[in-house]
C-alpha cells in the first residue's frame, strides 16, 4: 500500500489508523499473556511438586542484582510514560530525551542479566551441561564469603536428605528460570530495537500531538514487558528467602 504522509493507504483517516494500531497492540499483548501463561502454569505445578529444590535454586540467585533490576525496569516504565506524554503535548525534544533514557535503563537491565547468567555459568547451573547444584558450595571461588558458602552447604545437605533427586529438580528450576527470564530478555531486546526506531523518528520530529501512535503502542508493549518482570521477580527470586 502506498503511503501518503503518515496515513497508510488502507485507512481513511488518521484516527482510524490510530485506533487500529492500538487495538492491534492490545490483542497482541493478550496473546503474550497466554504465551507466558503456559510457562507460569508449568512453573506453578512443578514448584508445588518440588518446593525444596525450587527453594534451593532460588536461593542461589543474587537478590541485590534482581532487586536492583526491578527498580531499573520500573524507572524505565516511568520514562516511557513520560515520553508518550511529551509526544502528546508536542514537546518534541523531551520525547527524544525520555526515549533515550528508557533505552539506557533497558540496556542496564540487560547488562545486569548478562552478569547474572555468567554467574550461573560459572557455578555450573546451566541445565543439561554438567549441571551440578553443589558445584558452587563445593568449589567456591576465592573471593566468596566463607560464611555464605557454609550456609549454602548446610542447606544443600538438608535438602538432599529430603529429596535425593534434588539435582534433577533444581535443574528443572533452572530450566524454568532460563526459559522465563530468557523469554523476557528476548522481549526486552525486541523492545530496545523498537526504541531505537522511535528515537530515530523523534530526531526527525515525527511525533506530534496529531500523530504519536508508534510511541503510544511501543509504550504499551514496554509496560507489558515490565509487568511480566514484576511477576517473575518474586516467583524466581523470593520464594524461599532466609539466607
Amino acid at each position: 500500500m502506498h503511503r501518503t504522509g503518515e496515513l497508510y493507504g488502507q485507512f481513511e483517516t488518521l484516527e482510524q489508523q490510530k485506533e487500529s494500531a492500538a487495538l492491534g497492540m492490545w490483542i497482541f499483548l493478550v496473546t503474550e499473556v497466554l504465551f507466558f501463561g503456559g510457562l507460569f502454569l508449568t512453573y506453578t505445578i512443578n514448584r508445588h511438586a518440588f518446593g525444596t529444590a525450587f527453594g534451593v535454586g532460588s536461593n542461589t540467585l543474587d537478590i541485590r542484582l534482581g532487586g536492583g533490576n526491578t527498580v531499573v525496569l520500573i524507572l524505565s516504565s516511568l520514562t516511557m510514560a513520560m515520553a508518550v506524554w511529551s509526544a502528546q503535548i508536542g514537546k518534541k525534544q523531551l520525547v527524544s530525551i525520555f526515549l533515550i533514557a528508557t533505552l539506557a535503563l533497558g540496556s542496564v537491565f540487560l547488562g545486569v542479566k548478562v552478569v547474572e547468567y555468567k554467574q550461573k555459568f560459572d557455578h555450573h547451573l546451566i541445565p543439561g551441561y554438567g549441571f551440578d547444584i553443589r558445584y558452587h558450595s563445593e568449589l567456591p571461588a576465592p573471593m566468596d564469603n566463607p560464611v555464605e558458602i557454609a550456609a549454602e552447604k548446610e542447606e544443600l545437605e538438608k535438602a538432599f536428605a529430603v529429596d535425593p533427586d534434588i539435582n534433577a529438580h533444581a535443574q528443572l528450576y533452572f530450566s524454568l528460570y532460563f526459559g522465563m527470564t530468557g523469554l523476557h530478555a528476548l522481549h526486552m531486546i525486541v523492545g530496545a530495537g523498537l526504541l531505537i526506531w522511535l528515537i530515530r523518528g523523534s530526531f526527525h520530529g515525527r511525533f506530534t500531538p496529531q500523530y504519536n501512535t508508534p510511541v503510544e503502542i511501543v509504550g504499551l508493549y514496554w509496560h507489558f514487558v515490565d509487568i511480566v518482570w514484576i511477576y517473575l521477580f518474586p516467583l524466581l527470586y523470593l520464594i524461599d528467602r532466609h539466607r
Binding site: A49, T52, A161, V162, D163, P164, D165
Partner: protein, 327 residues
C-alpha cells in the same frame, strides 16, 4: 462368533450391556435428527425448487419461539445422554470393595500381568468369571492403554501414576485386548488375550502353573528389609516412622490437618515423594526412593504393605485417624 459383519463386539462383562444400551440410545437420537434434517432438506429442495430464473424466495427472518424450541429440546436430550453416561462412568471409576486385584505393567511393547499369588503372565490375562476384577496398572516408559473391547472398558497406563480399572467378566471365553494409546513402533502388536475361566478352572490354573514365580508379597517383604524400610518403620510404631500395619485402606491424618485415603497411589507417592504428604506427628525424614526402585519392585512393596493388615498401632497418637471404613 456372530454373523459375518457384526455391529458390536461380544458382550462379556457387566459394563457391556450398559455401554451398548447407551450406544443404542444415542444412536437413536442421532438417527432421528440426522433423518429429520436430511428429510427436511430433500423435501424443501424439491418443493421450493426455483420456478423462474429471476424468482426470489419469501423472506422469513426470525422466530424466537422456534429458536427456543430447538435450543431446549436438544439440550434436554443432551442432558439425558450426559447423565446416563455419567452414571455408567462413575460406576466404572469407583471399584467395589471385594475386588480381585491384579497388577499390570505396560512397557514398549508388551504387557506383564501378575496374579495375586505372584503368577506372572505376558500378553495374557486369566480371570475368573463372575468376580470383580481390579487391574492396578503402571507403565515403565510411555503412556499405554489397556483395552478389552468385549468388556467395553479401557484405561490409560501412565508412567508416574497408578491407574486402576475394574470389570466383572460375565462369560467364559477368550477375548482380544489391545493397547489403545499410541506408544511407538509396535503399538499395534502390543495386545493379547484375556481368558475368562470358570472359578474352579481359574484356581486350578493358578495352582497348576504357579511354580517358580515369586509371590509379590514375599518379594515385597524381602525388599522391605533390603531397602532399609524396616529400620524406620517398626511394626509396633516405636520408630521414627509410623507403623505401616493396617495403613492400607485407612484414612491417614496429615500434618496440614487434612486426611487422605491410603490407596495404592498414596503408598506409591509416599515411597517416591515422601514429602508430598507428611503424616501428622512425624518429621519429614523419609528419603525418596525415586529412581532406586523399578515399577515391579514398587508394586511388590505395595503388595507387601497391603498385606500388613493386623491392627494399626497408632504410636505417637495421631498417625492414623480413627478408621472410617475402608477405601
Amino acid at each position: 462368533m456372530q454373523s459375518q459383519l457384526p455391529l458390536y463386539p461380544e458382550q462379556a462383562s457387566n459394563f457391556a450391556p450398559h455401554v451398548d444400551a447407551l450406544m443404542l440410545f444415542i444412536t437413536a437420537v442421532c438417527l432421528f435428527f440426522a433423518g429429520a434434517i436430511t428429510t427436511a432438506i430433500v423435501v424443501f429442495f424439491f418443493k421450493y425448487h426455483r420456478k423462474a430464473p429471476n424468482a426470489v424466495g419469501i423472506p422469513i427472518h426470525e422466530d424466537s419461539r422456534l429458536e427456543a424450541v430447538w435450543m431446549i429440546v436438544p439440550l434436554i436430550l443432551a442432558m439425558a445422554m450426559f447423565s446416563w453416561g455419567a452414571i455408567v462412568y462413575v460406576d466404572y471409576r469407583r471399584a467395589p470393595q471385594d475386588t480381585l486385584d491384579i497388577y499390570v505393567i505396560g512397557k514398549q511393547w508388551m504387557w506383564k500381568a501378575q496374579q495375586p499369588n505372584g503368577l506372572k503372565e505376558i500378553n495374557e490375562l486369566h480371570v475368573p468369571v463372575g468376580r470383580n476384577i481390579r487391574l492396578v496398572m503402571a507403565s515403565e516408559d510411555v503412556i499405554h492403554d489397556f483395552f478389552v473391547p468385549a468388556f467395553r472398558v479401557k484405561m490409560d497406563v501412565v508412567p508416574g501414576h497408578y491407574n486402576t480399572m475394574w470389570f466383572r467378566p460375565t462369560k467364559p471365553g477368550r477375548y482380544h485386548f489391545f493397547c489403545s494409546q499410541y506408544c511407538g513402533t509396535n503399538h499395534a502388536l502390543m495386545g493379547g488375550w484375556v481368558t475368562v475361566l470358570e472359578p474352579s478352572d481359574y484356581s486350578a490354573w493358578l495352582s497348576g502353573s504357579s511354580g517358580g514365580n515369586a509371590n509379590p508379597v514375599v518379594a515385597g517383604e524381602k525388599l522391605y528389609a533390603e531397602k532399609t524400610c524396616s529400620t524406620c518403620h517398626i511394626a509396633n510404631g516405636t520408630g521414627h516412622a509410623p507403623s505401616l500395619n493396617g495403613v492400607y485402606g485407612a484414612q491417614v491424618l496429615l500434618a496440614d490437618g487434612s486426611t487422605v485415603a491410603a490407596d495404592e497411589t498414596y503408598i506409591r507417592e509416599s515411597i517416591l515423594q515422601p514429602n508430598a504428604k507428611i503424616v501428622a506427628g512425624y518429621l519429614p525424614l523419609m528419603p525418596s526412593f525415586q529412581g532406586q526402585l523399578t515399577e515391579e519392585q514398587i508394586l511388590a512393596l505395595t503388595a507387601y504393605i497391603k498385606s500388613l493388615q493386623s491392627q494399626p498401632v497408632p504410636a505417637k497418637g495421631s498417625g492414623i485417624a480413627p478408621p472410617t471404613g475402608k477405601r
